[in-house]
């Protein structure tokens, strides 16, 4: 039996756990595939963003003529690649042409420089100024100022310089600014700012002179914040010179040039890179960067060289938050593992429950087969006794009347026992089959209990039934059989000379009927089992007491069918008390 049960149990465990393990294996495999798929999807998405970015960059490069970069040089070129105009340069590459001066101006210069007749020279300069072209005006004003200064008319000189400064920019502007600065009329820093903004058409040497002079006037501390800008513009200007000498995409390292249709723009590589990076950004979640070509890519990214082969960069797309994918995968894995754990836990508890059910079932089967054996013994013993005594009486060998009376008494007792057993078994089978019909009546408790006690016909029973107990509602015979079973048990389980007490009292809506004995008592661990059907205490062959193991389960069943409750209080060695609690119906007759 034990081996069979273990085998069955192992089969159940195998049958449940094997699918569990297979589930786990498949789960882990699909988890790995899920991870690979997610990574591939991310890579594909990055690849498509990098393609979009490349298109955006190409479009941006095509618009270079509209760029408005703060530190860039814009040149307008003649077909012979000399500068027509420039913006953003500190000095002009090549030479700066002096405007043409007319006859009046030449005569005035002669009067000023040779004859040192400043009044005549001023008169002639003024005359020339009136007919001068816009380009020549600044040059003439500069000469007027110079002559006036020599003549000691500083006021007039300053007026002329101011006029130059207010005119469109010309080669004369820088000397006029310097004169104004030196005469204290204008702050030196203003001139320096104009100078490094590239506002004067100067040759390189002139620029160096003016810039050196103004820095001297201000002091190095005063220009410190502009020096970086000046350095950058200087590099840009040098790059422009190199570009004009040999027009190439990369004039000097660190600069890039674009030119087309007589127009050129030069700008630092990092400015271009910043501009293109900005143009390349395609959407949230993906960061597009421009990195040097052939640089090693990151783990999860897609890269592509720019379409323009002269630009030294490749586009690279990477997730803004590379850990996000890992995090979401981790989350999914955690969810899966949690689910798997739950399923496994459910499976395991299923195994445990099944094992318990199987154990219960086989235990019950054992009790049931014991029951059959016990019942057949219980039937045969009194029958054998009755038959034997009857045979003896019949054979006539028993002569003494006293002896014959003893035999009759024994036969009566044994047939009572049989009748009681048959009654119990019938009750039990009716209850088990659910065919038991109770006929509910109003029961007058005191009289009913007196009658039940009297029916036991045993001098050891001591009934203490108070008069006037509240009535209960129930099946008179069934309840009587429940109480009788308790009394029967008490008599069976206690020493032959000890008394058994039947008592009853009422309180808080209940009628309590208790049966106490002085028997061996019931161990605590057995108390919960004695009401189970077929359960019997003690070893199978050496029980002190006869019985089929259904009495108490019958009592419990009947009492509970009446909405009552049966309980036991017992201490080993000190007897037991069984109590039936029933609801009372008060005084209302029903």
């Amino acid at each position: 039996m034990g081996r069979g049960r273990r085998g069955l149990f192992a089969l159940i465990v195998l049958g449940i756990l094997l699918p569990g393990v297979i589930l786990a294996v498949f789960g882990f495999r699909s988890l790995r595939q899920d991870r690979l798929l997610a990574e591939r999807q991310t890579r594909d998405a990055l690849q498509s963003s990098v393609e979009v970015a490349a298109r955006e960059v190409t479009r941006e490069l095509a618009r270079w003529q509209e760029w408005d970069e703060p530190t860039s040089a814009t040149l307008t070129l003649t077909p012979g690649a000399s500068v027509l105009s420039a913006r953003g340069l500190l000095w002009l590459p090549g030479t700066v042409s002096e405007p043409h001066l007319d006859a009046n101006a030449r005569r005035a210069e002669e009067a000023e420089l040779r004859q040192r007749d400043f009044a005549k020279a001023l008169q002639l300069y003024e005359a020339a100024l009136r007919e001068a072209s816009p380009e020549a005006r600044a040059a003439l004003l500069l000469r007027i100022a110079r002559t006036a200064k020599k003549a000691g008319d500083l006021e007039r000189a300053r007026r002329a310089w101011r006029q130059i400064v207010s005119l469109p920019t010309s080669p004369a502007a820088a000397p006029a600014w310097l004169e104004l600065v030196e005469s204290g009329a204008v702050p030196a820093l203003d001139f320096y700012r104009e100078l490094i903004a590239g506002h004067f058409p100067l040759v390189r040497e002139s620029y160096s002179f003016y810039s050196g002079r103004v820095r001297e006037l201000i002091g190095e501390a005063g220009v410190a914040e502009y020096r970086e800008l000046e350095r950058r513009r200087t590099a840009l200007t040098l790059a422009s010179e190199a570009f004009l000498a040999a027009p190439r995409r990369n004039p000097t390292p660190g600069f890039i040039a674009f030119w087309e249709a007589g127009r050129a723009i030069l700008l630092p590589e990092d400015a271009l890179r910043a501009r293109l990076t900005k143009a390349a950004q395609s959407g949230p979640g993906t960061a597009i960067t421009l990195r040097a070509r052939q640089s090693a890519s990151m783990d999860l990214s897609a890269s592509r060289p720019l379409d323009d082969p002269q630009l030294p960069w490749q586009l690279e797309a990477a997730p803004h938050d590379p850990a996000a994918l890992e995090r979401s995968l981790r989350n999914r894995e955690t969810l899966f593992l949690g689910g798997l754990g739950l399923v496994m836990a459910v499976l395991l508890s299923g195994v445990c429950l099944t094992a318990r059910a199987v154990r219960r079932e086989s235990e019950f089967a054992r009790l049931q087969s014991d029951f059959v054996a016990t019942v057949s013994h219980e039937f045969r013993s009194p029958l054998t006794g009755i038959r034997q005594l009857a045979e003896l009486l019949d054979s006539g060998i028993v002569k003494a009347e006293e002896r014959r009376q003893e035999y009759f008494g024994l036969i009566l007792k044994e047939s009572d026992r049989l009748a009681h057993l048959v009654e119990n078994l019938l009750d039990f089978s009716r209850l088990e089959a659910g065919r038991k019909q109770y006929s509910m009546d109003r029961i007058d408790s005191s009289a009913w209990l007196e009658g039940t006690a009297a029916a036991v016909r045993n001098s050891r029973l001591c009934a203490e039934i108070p008069a006037g107990l509240p009535a209960v509602r129930g099946d008179r015979d069934s309840l009587a059989s429940a109480v009788a079973n308790l009394m029967d048990n008490a008599l069976k389980y206690s020493p032959p000379e000890s008394s058994v007490r039947l008592a009853a009292h009422s309180g808080s809506g209940k009628l309590s009927i208790s049966v106490s004995d002085h028997g061996p008592g019931i161990a605590l661990e057995e108390q919960s089992r004695i009401f189970e059907k077929f359960y019997r205490s003690g070893g199978e062959l050496s029980r002190q007491v006869k019985g089929a193991g259904i009495g108490l389960s019958l009592v419990k069943r009947i009492v509970e069918d009446h909405g009552g409750n049966v309980s036991v209080f017992s201490q080993p060695g000190e007897g037991s008390t069984f109590t039936i609690d029933l609801k009372v119906i008060g005084d209302q007759p029903s």
Partner: protein, 100 residues
């Protein structure tokens, strides 16, 4: 006349056996539980012991084993009586160790 020990806890059966056997002219002694049965059997002097199986205190099989058992064999038990098992129930899976 033989001395017979009847070990039986059912009073009706025990009295029936006693009276039948006495009517046959034997000296019969009746005990009703296993422990007492073992004590009386050890004291000896019985030609036959009629032993019930389901007994209070100690079951018939173990009394049987003790009285037959090698280690338990003592001088008083040297001339040991014949043992007969009587049982009202049929227990198919019970062994029958006494009847050999």
């Amino acid at each position: 006349m033989k001395r017979i020990l009847v070990v039986e806890d059912e009073p009706a059966i025990a009295i029936g056996l006693r009276d039948s056997l006495e009517a046959e002219g034997h000296a019969v002694e009746v005990v009703s539980d296993g422990v007492e049965a073992e004590t009386r059997a050890r004291e000896g002097g019985f030609d036959l012991i009629l032993l019930d199986v389901m007994l209070p205190g100690r079951d018939g099989f173990s009394i049987c084993r003790i009285l037959h058992g090698g280690r338990e064999r003592s001088a008083s038990c040297h001339n040991h009586p014949r043992l007969v098992r009587i049982a009202a129930a049929t227990f198919a899976r019970w062994p029958v160790p006494c009847l050999r």
